[in-house]
Assembly symmetry: C2
């Protein structure tokens, strides 16, 4: 994102980079960057880095094996000066690659207890899932479905699994038995969530509320309700997670995450560490906020 401002001669950049020992590049390792929530985090990164002297090199991960390759190859001083990792949880085997990297790394929307030497910015997804389920229970729902991503997925994405855990904790705390038929996981996507919701809503005793692990998946649930002629929220309450633009357009109740801010904060921490390598790493938990719109209400039956 380096925008060089001088109007005339600029010295040879390779020479400049060699003489300073810097690449003047920051890498971002990001999964499926066209996912709306990820695009918004990346937006925070891009906007904030634009004010610095660094270029941004983007490494988009769409295959699980790319992840380890990236962790192995990218965080090296001859390639980049620093790395941002967005929403990709390192496996235990990959932790040493990041712990021993020769450049500073910041983890955004992901964390690992063995990586306390790195700056980590994330959201407490267990607490977020619990708040959503407690809100639905508070409205009077007891038949509450959850539709999310595969808990065991080759990318080691953890957010859906953590939100589901919070959901189960809230059910348990309220004395509501967990029902396996009200829990569905799929590869991430609107269509996959829609098909799951259609199956769940065809049960003899269907849920009166569905909590989807993301706004995109909640849109699939809304589409399923429409196909089945169920009114939202009278027949079915729907809650998403993220608060991306589609949530506002559709009036979706959702758990807002600080997406843009997470990218912004990640860049700030990385630049601080580049400036002063002795800075103590921080472990920041960004707040979430339940945004109640038109897709939730008390159960009508």
């Amino acid at each position: 994102m380096q925008i060089v401002r001088e109007l005339d001669y600029t010295p040879n950049l390779v020479a400049q980079r060699l003489s300073t020992g810097k690449t003047l590049a920051i890498a971002v390792i990001v999964p499926f960057f066209t996912t709306p929530s990820v695009t918004e985090r990346l937006n925070g990164v891009v906007s904030t880095l634009a004010k610095s002297e660094y270029d941004l090199v983007i490494h988009n991960i769409e295959e699980p094996e790319q992840r380890a390759d990236c962790f192995r190859v990218i965080p090296r001083r001859d390639r980049v000066d620093g790395v941002l990792v967005i929403s990709i949880s390192p496996t235990d085997e990959e932790v040493p690659l990041l712990a021993e990297a020769s450049v500073p790394i910041v983890l955004i929307d992901t964390h690992h207890p063995a990586l306390s030497m790195l700056n980590q910015i994330f959201v407490d997804d267990v607490a977020g899932g619990r708040v959503v389920a407690e809100y639905l229970i508070g409205l009077g729902h007891t038949r509450i479905g959850f539709i999310g991503d595969q808990a065991n997925n080759p990318f080691n994405f953890t957010s859906s699994r953590d939100r589901a855990l919070g959901y189960r904790q809230a059910l348990e705390a309220a004395g509501i038995p967990y029902r396996a038929e009200y829990y569905a996981e799929n590869p991430y996507g609107r269509r996959e969530a829609r098909e799951s919701a259609k199956r769940m809503l065809a049960l003899p005793e269907r849920p009166t509320a569905i909590f989807a692990a993301s706004d995109v998946q909640a849109v699939g649930v809304l589409e399923a309700a429409r196909e089945l002629g169920l009114r939202v929220p009278q027949d079915l309450s729907v809650v998403g997670y993220d608060d991306v633009e589609i949530a506002e357009i559709l009036g979706l109740t959702t758990m807002r995450q600080m997406l843009f801010e997470s990218g912004q904060r990640g860049v700030e921490l990385l630049l601080e560490t580049l400036e002063n390598p002795e800075t103590e790493p921080v472990y920041e938990v960004l707040p979430t906020e339940l945004v109640v719109r038109e897709t939730t209400g008390p159960p009508s039956c």
Copy 2:
């Protein structure tokens, strides 16, 4: 997007880059990459480049003056091996910066007659705008509004202006007088389009159809109709442009562009030119397709 596959020692990249005389980096200069249509073009770039040896350096343009700086500084052999410019039309003053660049450049979703030495991939937006208006006229509409971007904008974006030109051509060909009160332009955005639509729909003789220059703006028009209690399509037909995901979700009639494919094709042409610099540049017009969904129908009055 280079994913180096070797598992052990990799030679020093700076040395490797110096010895080959290559940076192994491709720059993309892109405006507002979080705009859904731009994200989808960028997705085509990222996915296609991932299969090559090149890294992708992203330069996001959010201020007009960044554009000239980027055109001046980025396309240089010591920085990158090639450049993709997405959706940013060079001004006449900027043309020499691109014409005389020392690395290959491909223009995606933009073109300029004085840059015939570059590969250019674009859509005929005048024809696209004409097709939309002809479709609405064919349904029986004569009071057809247009809501788009500012024709004179500091970014020199041309797509909205060209679509509006096609709209006017179709009206004229059908003998329907152009009415200035049915034409509105704003800075790009859903909210801005919504406010314009509300003003237009409050006219004593309101339009029975509105053509928005993008799906995002069409969503604003749909929101305005909902606020005013107008039924779509009975009281108001709405057409967008792009066919991004929100169009499918909302059942919006729209002009589909080959967004992903435009990025893919741009990378292919750039890699071909890097491989064989003597390749003749091409000037490709990608097809568009009208996708009729639920927001259009004959006027009811």
